[in-house]
Amino acid sequence: MDKVNVSSAVLKAAAHHYGSQCDKANKEFMLCRWEEKDPRKCLKEGRKVNECAVNFFRQIKGNCAESFTEYWTCLDYSNLAELRHCRKQQKEFDNCVLEKLGWERPELGDLSKVTKVATSRPLPENPYLSRPRPEPNTPIQAELQPSKHGSRLFFWNW
């Protein structure tokens, strides 16, 4: 399995487009991970995520390499890689990607929306592998009378 061998500025530069393109694989992997709570069971989805990421970067490198390089070098220049300092390069990169590959940059707030994911994987029962739960208490058999001398918590009611 090949690693996505890029640095953090590169990732952040491409993050928005990556979020909208490789959305399916990512969401499936996260759903699997969160439901099964076990990374060993999600290696297949993880592999798909990795493939998708590698494909994504390969496509960018194939088509829009120069504007992307400019964009992420601009981001890399500042300490915190703030996106607002590099708007010009971002616009260029967006235009280039839109022309050549037809990808649109997602609007603000689109990537943090809650989505429903359709998988063919069944929901696991008992992912925590807990022991069988004890029986609930039987309902009270006797007749319940009100307390004989009033409430015993009258003076200690805190």
Binding site: V4, V49, L111, S112
Partner: protein, 139 residues
């Protein structure tokens, strides 16, 4: 004395002009209320600008958070590497320390996230330290 015309410093003929000696404290400028109003207005304007910029900052922050959200292979890549490393090292450990492997660490079959010490057991100590304190800048 003689009527000789000596050059002296005398007042001009006809005397000096009138001297304006009255008080000159003109009433000018804004009144107190309007100065107060100007101050309040400036403050309101400043607040309005501040709120607008804060909203813009919130939007920028959301954008940066979304960049982080969408970089899910972070989690994926790290976990893959971790799991593979653990499995490889467990095999190594079995070959090296043949006796101690029999007992389980926990009484359950669940996946337990490994701790740093366990992962970096067989590696040089500086790697553990780097993993634990690499991000830390203070001492």
């Amino acid at each position: 004395m003689s009527v000789l015309m000596v050059k002296q410093d005398m007042p001009p003929t006809g005397g000096y002009g009138p001297v304006d000696y009255r008080r000159n404290l003109p009433r000018r400028g804004l009144s107190g209320y309007s100065m107060f109003g100007v101050g309040v207005g400036l403050m309101v304007f400043g607040y309005w600008r501040l709120f607008r910029w804060n909203r813009e900052r919130r939007r920028l922050h959301i954008e940066e958070l979304e960049a982080r959200i969408s970089l899910l292979p972070l989690l994926q890549a790290e976990h893959d590497r971790r799991t593979l490393r653990m499995l490889r090292e467990n095999l190594e450990e079995e070959a090296v320390i043949m006796k101690d492997v029999g007992e389980k660490m926990f009484h359950t079959d669940r996946w337990v996230s490994p701790i740093t010490e366990e992962l970096f057991n067989l590696r040089p100590r500086e790697e553990t330290l780097r993993k634990k304190f690499g991000f830390l800048r203070y001492v």
